[in-house]
């Protein structure tokens, strides 16, 4: 019941859906190849300023390397007596959520034969910093709530666009990471 007028072949969102579906089919038969490990390392620079390096990961049963190593810096703003060299880690979390949901919208639109013209996500998160400052133990450190607003122009009905965004949340890794608990194990040498 999609109201889009294009066929999936004519739609160009820059997503290779055939490759994704092929990978899904292959992994259904070999679930062990679906076991991935994502990695990052982080080095302290000065003050609250740090630089993470992201390169190799493990997947499809082997170590995977890529063409380049990426770096992502983080810092805190001047009102926290920092030098504001880079976004705060919590803003990077918002960026991760936004990028994950946006990528999902594009992939699902391609699969459903919906041509996208523009996708813009705007995010805002509430935080009571009495938590991280240790002022009030009843206040959590993290976000109280996150609001995501999508502004999407596409050749589809309003409900079909809403369904893209809903399905993207359903299949999003970062949405899951943020909405569900995860066990974290930290060691020190």
């Amino acid at each position: 019941m999609t109201t889009s007028t294009s066929t999936p072949e004519q739609v160009q969102n820059g997503v290779n859906v055939d490759a994704l579906l092929g990978a899904r089919e292959a992994l259904e038969k070999t679930p062990e190849a679906a076991q991935f490990k994502w990695r990052a390392s982080c080095e302290w620079l000065n003050g609250t300023h740090s630089r993470s390096t992201i390169g190799k990961f493990f997947g499809l049963g082997a170590e995977q390397s890529r063409d380049q190593t990426f770096t992502v810096e983080a810092d805190h703003p001047k009102i926290f007596a920092s030098e504001d060299h880079a976004p705060t880690p919590v803003e990077l979390v918002l960026s991760g959520l936004a990028s994950c949901l946006t990528a999902g919208v594009a992939a699902i639109a391609q699969r459903r034969g919906i041509q996208l013209h523009s996708v813009k996500a705007t995010l805002e998160a509430d935080m009571d910093i009495q938590g991280i400052l240790g002022i009030d133990d009843d206040v959590r450190n993290g976000f109280g709530a996150i609001r995501v607003h999508f502004d999407i122009r596409a050749d589809a009905s309003e409900d079909d666009i809403k369904a893209l965004v809903a399905q993207s949340q359903k299949r999003s890794a970062v949405f899951d990471i943020i909405t569900n608990p995860t066990a974290v194990f930290v060691t020190v040498n």
């Binding site: 409900d159 369904a163 949340q169 899951d176 909405t179 569900n180 608990p181």
Partner: protein
Amino acid sequence: MRSATAIIIGAGHSGLAMSWHLTARSIDHVVLERGEVANSWRTERWDSLRLLTPNWQSRLPGHAYAGEDRDGFMTMSEVVHFLQHYAGLLRAPVMPGVRVTRVRHDGDGYELSTSQGAWRCRQLVIASGACNLASVPPLSDGLPAKVASLTPMQYRRPDLLPDGGVLIVGASASGVQLAREIQAAGRRVVLSVGEHVRMPRTYRGRDIQWWMDAIGAMDLRYDAAENIERARRLPSPQLVGTPERATVDLNSLRQAGVELVGRLAGLRDGRAQFSGSLANVCALADLKMNRLLAGIDAWVTGGGLEGQFAAPHRDAPTSVGAETKLSLDLIAAGIGTVIWATGYRPDYSWLDVPVLDRHGRIRHDGGVVAAPDMYVMGLPFMRRRKSSFIDGAADDAADLAAHLHRSLDRAAA
């Protein structure tokens, strides 16, 4: 050792429908039943449960509901009576009180160990049901010992519950029905909601099951479905069978005082943790329901039938409130019971034939099991969308009996 050409395990609607077809084809068979006819309906359901399908839809080969209340919903004792009557009508060769404890492949057939001795057959039909066991998630291990843990198969009625509030995990048909009646009995009810299927009881003046039947949705075949694996795992729709044909949805439950929380994501140190995905699972269900209703509207318009039905309408979107809890200290909140309405699965512990996949599901092609001369009946979307419904047994049994008969003829030739 006794023997029959075909053995049907289970004398519920599926097994009886198959018996009707085997009799019609003069294929010698018996129906082994661990209890009595309609055993699960007698012993494994809560007191207030009624069928989710209207009476007129209780159609089996050679028999259909003939009472006055065609649009009503049978109570469990009425279902038992209906199936007992059917078994008598067929003179079905039911052996009651025979529990199958093991089935193994033996030469060109199967050998069955039972509580009443051994049986042999050439062909086997598994009609023992899709809902023998309640599926309880592993994280239930974290439940504090002071909180009672129940499945819907153990639950009977609100006044038999331990004192205190009730956390119901799962918002498919079982979960919403239990939430509705336990809240109405004056208990605090917290309902943990994951992915679910929202459906109005009636639409444009007809029962939703009438529409699903009319537009052909119930007859959709397994080999024509877009993603059959997903379709088979779909939770049951949020429906209840009541004389007043009430719609039960998350909005009505919330208005009645049920507290909605997200999918149960963890149980640690007496605290239940709930997913922050509640708003999205509700949005998904609202969109999906509206696609179904739009399909019905298109069918009406396409047939030029607008004059025969009430005008289209859409129920309000699900409203979950901004203050949904992400965690709950069960003891401090006075929760005395957790009910795991997290689905059901068949019990194949007695089946000693390598036909199960890594999830423990039986491998079959529209009910033809991946072992010679073995068939299964009544699983969700097994052969058609209606396969797990009483109304689905007739067409599936006809197809599978024909397949079974051909196989018998080939062996004889």
